[in-house]
Amino acid sequence: MRTLALALAASLAVVPVLAQDDASRIQEVTSPGGIVAWFVQEPAIPIVTVQIAFDGGARLDEKGKEGAVNLAAGLIEEGAGDMDNQDFAAELDDLSSGIGFSAGRDGFSVSVSSLSENIDATMDLLHVALTEPLFTDEAIERVREQVLSNLRSQEKSPQAQAGRRWYAEVFGDASYATPVAGTIETVTALTRDDILAAYGRMVAKARMKIGVVGDIEADALTALLDSTFGDLPEGESLDKTPVPVRETGGLIVIEEDVPQSAVVLGHKGILRDDPDYIPAYVMNYVLGGGGLTSRLTDEVREKNGLAYSVYSYLYPLDRAGLYMGGVATANARVAKSLELIRQEWARMAEGGLTQEELDAAKTYLTGSFALRFDSNSKITGFLVGAQSAGLPIDYIDTRNGLVEAVTLEDVSRVAERLLKPDDLFVVVVGKPEGMESADTLMEGIGG
């Protein structure tokens, strides 16, 4: 059956991603006031989805005030203009619309969903929220408590603890070292002025990317772009100079009384605009990106039954590239799982892919690209993500060609460049057996 499958795979035609004539379906529209959005008109369902990404996010937090951007994002829906939080929610409710605000490591995002008949009024509400948020003391205290409760539960979650410690160790001083939501100490100490100051930095036209998909005409959209975003502060673009990433490997074990240890591991990777990004992406699909089909899954899960989930991924932040992985496995089997992961890391670094693996990766990655575009909200996400990553507007048409062009040599070169089993920095949270259980750092484990 394996040969049959490959024969079928080889005949997989290059399928258009959106529908026929896709290149022309993504339009760049510019409003009279100069606001740019990427737009796909889709009349099939009477809804409009809008996403806005402001470059910056938690990196705009000042030292010692980490979590301010996140708290500000959580407070925008809590009242704006002459509306308190109940009025604002009731207005959205009357329109059957949703507006969400969220902060990430590199950005602050807004996502809007509306019935097409209500999009004008919904964008009006968004305008008030973005330009006149109230940040009342009552709301600050309420939302602060919710954030603190989450932070407290993360202190007991093996997965969250492992991630938090990993970033702290790998990034040292950079803003990426601290969780987007901040710490219990910093969030407790935030004042209203801190939140206002953070908000003042978050929203800026110079750092705004907009994607729109749905049942709306381009003219109506450009008018809305001006009325919603026209009077936001201009601001300026951010410096993207990379920050230092820890170069040496290590192992930290944090003891927690749970049956299953959470493991987060990784080392330096590459940025999204690195010429090797696509070959690296293809390579990682085979190593640990391909769900049930990856080498890591084969070794750790299928052959040895050590874990339900084992994976690796490229994580290109704006100012640091990471190559990450993880596994969750019974305490008695952590050492064995880690050994297998390191072994696969090394095997790929030394030997790259087989032709068969490369072919299968390409047919998956090119064939499944269309699955990212089967809903308006997914397409909207792509439109914003592609702009934030600096990709050209025709990327949707050229991307599969970039994947097809990857050679075995490309993969070998990139694997050797990127995968450094000795440099893996590993954090284990649980009660792993046969591993150093004190919270100490051991340099150069493995290899």
């Binding site: 795979a9 049942d215 050590l306 047919t363």
Partner: protein, 447 residues
């Protein structure tokens, strides 16, 4: 094939009256008894193909909890034609994604793939309906994988274990009280014979429902289904052996303490009719009631408990009615500041008493209906969730015309209907109240 005239009309109407847009649905039944539903969505050249079996954890024999889910895992191991471990790899090499899930009433397998690959995935799914090949080698490793899955989902998290205890207390006799993944002690002894027995009894065309959503026509789906599924012989299905649930006469209470709990919470649940077992429109009424109580921050529970009295960090209610034998109506809340769980329970009790005494208003009901109808329109954006909605509904025993007339039934619900359903369900003697608490020694240690 039975093409539904009403949906064609609705599709036509969509061109002029967007708010009335409805999905284009058709259905047919093969001679061997396999039902099929086609959900047309021509926005992207992809399909979602699902096969749902009417067998879930509620159908497991005594002592074999988890066998339905374990079998789901083993179904990926291969068939007489497909080599071990190749199933998902073949799908991936054809640009597709696949997975499966098990619930109390059903087990479902799905692929998302380019539309010209529909025949391929149907052929593979039809093949494993009767010809799965489970090797003894796979049995132990995969059981370990399931145990790790259980650790990740449940055993590592006090909230997960509490939820399991709550469900076990909610049902006195019915298997809905058993965790879908199974009790650890019983998973550990499941074997190949247990899996095959379940497979032989329940995996057959006359116990399966086919759902295809995406860029397809009903005619092409029917032709492919005839070719691949139509040739499979039906089997004689076993009588349903599910236990019945006796009347609930005593309120039950649970307390669970765990040192890893950082945020205490209360859970209060009641058995309720489901969409299948209700006699009139109780399910719709209870669904609307849950929206009136907690469908957003303006609704009763969040407004009164998190805003007006400020005693809860969060508070809500839900109705879970998509089930063959019975549903559940539940409340949950987390105390804030110095509030104790008994105080929070008192507030919940007061709100329930107030609801039963003073009822809901016409305005509250109208808002809930509007919100439910808008949600249905937004739900159409996701091909996979549409496929899941129809698959789940049909598998538990609803008919297409019941799904089609959902909106009419919803709109017909009166304030009296809501209150009649509320009074029938929210009976103290039928309730389970659970407290998830911090460990005693830690009480008061960190606010």
């Amino acid at each position: 094939m039975k093409r539904l005239a009403s949906t064609l009309l609705a599709a036509f109407a969509a061109m002029t009256a967007p708010a009335l847009a409805e999905p284009v649905i058709s259905d047919f039944t093969l001679d061997n008894g396999m039902r099929a539903v086609v959900i047309e969505d021509h926005r992207a050249p992809v399909v979602t193909h699902m096969v749902w079996y009417r067998v879930g954890s509620a159908d497991e024999p005594p002592g074999k909890t988890g066998i339905a889910h374990y079998l789901e895992h083993l179904m990926f191991k291969g068939t007489d034609k497909i080599a071990p471990g190749q199933f998902s790899k073949i799908i991936a090499a054809n640009g597709g994604q696949d997975n499966a899930f098990t619930s109390r009433d059903y087990t479902a397998y799905f692929q998302r793939i380019a539309k010209d690959r529909l025949g391929l995935v149907m052929g593979m799914e039809a093949d494993r309906m009767r010809n799965v090949n489970i090797r003894q080698d796979d049995i132990v490793a995969e059981r370990d994988v399931v145990l790790e899955e259980r650790s990740s989902r449940t055993d590592n998290d006090p909230g997960g274990r509490f939820r399991e205890q709550y469900m076990a207390a909610l049902y006195l006799n019915h298997a809905y009280g058993i965790p879908v993944i199974g009790w650890r002690e019983e998973i550990e002894s499941l074997d190949r014979d247990d899996a095959l027995e379940m497979y032989e009894r329940f995996y057959a065309p006359n116990n399966a429902i086919l759902i295809v959503a995406g860029d397809v026509t009903p005619d092409e789906v029917e032709a492919l289904a005839e070719e691949h599924y139509g040739v499979i012989e039906p089997v004689e299905l076993p009588e349903s052996v599910r236990a019945t649930e006796p009347p609930h006469l005593a309120a039950r209470r649970l307390e669970m303490r765990d040192p890893r709990v950082t945020q205490e919470r209360i859970w209060r649940g009641y058995l309720a009719p489901s969409y299948v077992t209700d006699e009139g429109n109780e399910a719709e009424a209870l669904s609307l009631l849950s929206d009136i109580l907690s469908g957003g921050t303006t609704r009763r529970l969040p407004r009164m408990l998190t805003l007006d009295t400020d005693i809860a960090l969060y508070a809500g209610a839900y109705y879970s009615g998509m089930a063959r034998d019975m549903g559940e109506f539940a409340f949950y809340a987390a105390p804030k500041g110095d509030t104790t769980l008994p105080q929070l329970e008192g507030a919940l009790d007061w709100m329930i008493a107030d609801l039963l005494k003073n009822g809901v208003t016409e305005e509250e009901l109208a808002r809930a209906k509007k919100s439910a109808i808008a949600s249905e329109i937004f739900a159409q954006d996701s091909q996979s969730s549409m496929a899941r909605q129809y698959g789940a509904a049909l598998t538990i025993g609803l008919e297409l015309d019941e799904i089609e007339s959902w909106r009419e039934r919803l709109e017909a619900v009166t304030v009296e209907d809501v209150m009649r359903a509320a009074r029938a369900v929210l009976v103290p003697e039928r309730s389970v109240t659970g407290y998830l608490m911090k460990a005693k020694s830690e009480e008061g240690a960190d606010g």
